[in-house]
C-alpha cells in the first residue's frame, strides 16, 4: 500500500453541521509512504473516527476512502485481516491492550501472529523505553504511561506501510516522548513507511512533512 486518499470524507454525525473548518473532513487529502504527518485536533473533532475509518472497523462516514485508488468500502474480512497484519499498524488512543496478560505477553500475542520482530529487538525497545522491569507485570497493574510504551512496541511488531499513532504521548514525559519518536521514525524508515500522528496539544517534536488541523 503506497497511498491513502480521503475524498470528501465526513463522519455521518457531522453531516448537519455547516461550520466544519477542517483540513481533512470534506477535503481531498493524501497520505503517502515515507512521509511524516501530524494531525492536530481539538477533542470532538473526529480524531478517533478517522482512525477507525482508515482501519476498517467503522464505516459511518460519507465520501470515499481509497487505498492505492481502491475504495476500502468493498474490502472483504480476509483483506482487512491481511491489512491489519501486514500493512497498517495502529496505536490506539485507548491502547486496546489485554489487562490479564503481562506486558511481554501482550507484545508476544502480536509478534507470534506476524513473526516480524526478534526477541532481542523487542527487549531492546523495552530497555530504551525504561520498562524492562515491567516485562512480566500484568498489564492491568501498570500505569497508563507505561502501557502506552508497551502499546507502541506491540504496534511495531508487524510489517507496515503506514503507522497510525493516536495521541501516543498523552501520559509520557518529554524524555520518553522523544525516545518514542526516535523508535517510531527509525522503524518507519527501515520499512519505508509513512507515519500519521495525532495530538490534542502536546506532540512529539519531529520534522513533519505536513501538518493538518482536523
Amino acid at each position: 500500500m503506497n497511498k491513502i486518499q480521503l475524498i470528501d470524507t465526513l463522519p455521518n454525525v457531522f453531516q448537519s453541521r455547516a461550520d466544519i473548518e477542517s483540513d481533512i473532513w470534506n477535503k481531498n487529502v493524501e497520505f503517502e509512504k515515507e512521509k511524516l504527518y501530524l494531525v492536530e485536533a481539538n477533542s470532538g473533532t473526529g480524531k478517533s473516527s478517522l482512525c477507525s475509518y482508515i482501519y476498517g472497523y467503522r464505516h459511518d462516514y460519507q465520501g470515499r476512502i481509497l487505498f492505492d485508488g481502491e475504495d476500502i468500502h468493498k474490502y472483504s474480512v480476509a483483506r482487512w485481516t491481511d491489512i491489519r497484519k501486514k500493512h497498517f499498524a495502529l496505536l490506539w488512543q485507548e491502547l486496546r491492550m489485554f489487562p490479564e496478560l503481562t506486558a511481554w505477553e501482550n507484545v508476544e500475542l502480536k509478534n507470534k501472529l506476524t513473526g516480524h520482530q526478534t526477541k532481542e529487538q523487542v527487549l531492546e525497545w523495552f530497555e530504551m523505553l525504561g520498562i524492562t522491569d515491567r516485562l512480566n507485570a500484568k498489564m492491568g497493574r501498570m500505569s497508563f504511561g507505561q502501557q502506552q510504551r508497551v502499546a507502541l512496541i506491540r504496534a511495531l511488531c508487524q510489517p507496515f506501510d503506514f503507522l497510525f499513532v493516536d495521541e501516543p504521548i498523552s501520559h509520557l514525559d518529554d524524555t520518553n516522548a522523544a525516545i518514542m519518536g526516535q523508535i517510531m521514525t527509525a522503524e518507519a524508515k527501515k520499512q519505508g513507511a509513512g507515519i500519521i500522528l495525532t495530538s490534542i496539544g502536546k506532540h512529539i517534536d519531529l520534522p513533519y512533512d505536513q501538518v493538518f488541523n482536523l
Binding site: Y55, R58, T81, W92, F98, L109, K110, L113, Q158
Partner: protein, 399 residues
C-alpha cells in the same frame, strides 16, 4: 494459540459446561442405546430370519362340520383379490401345496433313523428372506433347499432325544445333514436330497422353493395342479391395525393369533423405542441449547477481548477456533463416553438374553456408532457455524 487461549478461557463457567456434559451424555446414551437395543432385539425376534415379523399367514376357519359337509376351505381368486384391495395389505401370496407323494428319510449315524410321509408347500420367493443362491432350485437337480418348522427340532430335542437319552441337535448340525427324499406321482419316481437351510418358528409347514414346486407339480402330478390355495401369506403395513382383525372375523378367516401378537409386540416395541429415542434426542437438544447459551455468554463476556484480537490482526477463524475446539472436543468426549456406557449396559442385557437364547447371534454396534457419528458431525458443524457467526457479529458490530 496459547496466549489466545489464555485470554479467551477467561469467564469459562465450569458448572455450565459440566451441566451440558452430563445432560448431553444422558441424551446421547439414550439415543445410542435405543438404536442398539432395537437392533439386538431384532436379532432375537428374527431368530426366524426367513420371514419378517410383518408377515401374516391366513387360512379359513375349519369348523367341526366343514370337514364333513365338504365346504371349501380354499381361497378363490375373488377372495384373494378382495384381500389385496384392503388398504392394510401390502403384498399377498398363496401357499402352493404339493400334488404328489413325498417320503423323507433321515439318518443320524448310528443313533436314530426316521422315515415319514410328508408334504411340501411353497410361497412366492419374495416372501422368503434367504440369500437367493441358498434358496434356489435348478431344474433337474437332486438338491432341494428346505425350511423346516422349528417345532420339529424342538419336538426332537425336548421330547424324543430327552426321553431316549439321545444327543441334542442344533440348527448348525442339522444344516450340515441331508434328508433323503422320495417323490412319487403321475407314475413316476424321483430321489432327491433335502438340504435344510433353516428352521422357521413362523411357518408351520415344510417349505421348498417356488421353482421346485412348479417343476415337481408338473413332473409328478401332471396337469392336476390347479388347486386353490388353502393358506395365504401377506405382508401388512401395520400389524396392530384393528381393521385386520375385524376383516378376518367378518370373513371367517383366521391367522395364527400369537403370530399377530408377536408382530404386535415388535411393532409396539418399535414405537416405544422410537419414543425413548425421541426423549433422548430432546434431552440432547436441550443440553445442546445449554452449551450454545453458555458459549454465547462466554463470547459476550469476552467480546472486548475478541474485538481487540480482531483489531490487532487475528482473523475471525483464528479467534473462533478456541471456542469451536472447546465445543467439538466436548462433543467428542460425550460420544466416546456414551459409547462406553452403552457397551456396558448392552453387556448386561445381552447376558440376560443369552440365558434365554443360547445360540443367539447379535449384530455389531456399527449402526449405533454411525448414528452417534452422524449426530456428532451434525452438532459439531452447527457449533462451528454458530461460534463463527457470533464472532463475525463482533467484527460487524462496529458498523
Amino acid at each position: 494459540m496459547n496466549l489466545v487461549w489464555k485470554l479467551l478461557r477467561q469467564h469459562i463457567s465450569i458448572p455450565q459446561f459440566v451441566g451440558f456434559f452430563f445432560a448431553n451424555l444422558v441424551g446421547v446414551v439414550i439415543i445410542l442405546l435405543g438404536v442398539q437395543f432395537y437392533n439386538d432385539y431384532q436379532a432375537l425376534d428374527n431368530e426366524d430370519s426367513f420371514m419378517k415379523a410383518d408377515y401374516l399367514i391366513v387360512n379359513r376357519k375349519i369348523g367341526a362340520l366343514s370337514g364333513l359337509t365338504g365346504v371349501q376351505n380354499t381361497f378363490s381368486e375373488e377372495d384373494i383379490a378382495e384381500l389385496k384391495a384392503e388398504p392394510f395389505v401390502e403384498r399377498i401370496g398363496a401357499f402352493t401345496p404339493s400334488s404328489y407323494n413325498v417320503r423323507a428319510r433321515f439318518d443320524v449315524e448310528g443313533f436314530v433313523s426316521f422315515s415319514t410321509e410328508m408334504f411340501f408347500e411353497s410361497v412366492p420367493n419374495e416372501f422368503v428372506d434367504v440369500e437367493s443362491d441358498a434358496w434356489h432350485y435348478e431344474e433337474g437337480s437332486v438338491d432341494i433347499p428346505i425350511i423346516l418348522p422349528k417345532n420339529y427340532l424342538d419336538l426332537y430335542n425336548f421330547g424324543y432325544a430327552q426321553g431316549k437319552g439321545l444327543p441334542k441337535l442344533t440348527q448348525g448340525i442339522l444344516g450340515a445333514m441331508k434328508l433323503q427324499i422320495q417323490i412319487d406321482g403321475n407314475g413316476q419316481h424321483g430321489d432327491f436330497y433335502g438340504r435344510i437351510v433353516g428352521f422357521s418358528s413362523r411357518l408351520n409347514t415344510i417349505l421348498v422353493p417356488e421353482q421346485f414346486m412348479r417343476w415337481a407339480n408338473q413332473q409328478y402330478a401332471g396337469g392336476n395342479v390347479t388347486k386353490e390355495p388353502t393358506r395365504l401369506i401377506m405382508e401388512v403395513s401395520n400389524p396392530t391395525d384393528d381393521r385386520i382383525t375385524s376383516f378376518l372375523q367378518d370373513h371367517d378367516y383366521e391367522t395364527d393369533e400369537d403370530k399377530l401378537d408377536a408382530s404386535k409386540t415388535t411393532f409396539i416395541l418399535r414405537v416405544i423405542v422410537s419414543i425413548v429415542m425421541v426423549v433422548g434426542a430432546v434431552i440432547s437438544i436441550l443440553s445442546f441449547y445449554i452449551l450454545m447459551l453458555s458459549v454465547f455468554l462466554l463470547v459476550q463476556k469476552n467480546s472486548t477481548k475478541l474485538e481487540n484480537l480482531l483489531l490487532i490482526g487475528y482473523s475471525p477463524a483464528k479467534v473462533s477456533f478456541p471456542y469451536q475446539a472447546l465445543t467439538v472436543g466436548l462433543n467428542v468426549l460425550v460420544l466416546i463416553l456414551a459409547v462406553v456406557i452403552m457397551l456396558v449396559i448392552r453387556g448386561v442385557y445381552l447376558e440376560m438374553f443369552e440365558n434365554f437364547f443360547p445360540d443367539l447371534e447379535v449384530p455389531g454396534i456399527t449402526q449405533a456408532l454411525c448414528v452417534g457419528g452422524v449426530l456428532l458431525v451434525m452438532v459439531s458443524i452447527f457449533n462451528i457455524i454458530a461460534v463463527r457467526n457470533k464472532v463475525m457479529s463482533i467484527w460487524k458490530r462496529k458498523e
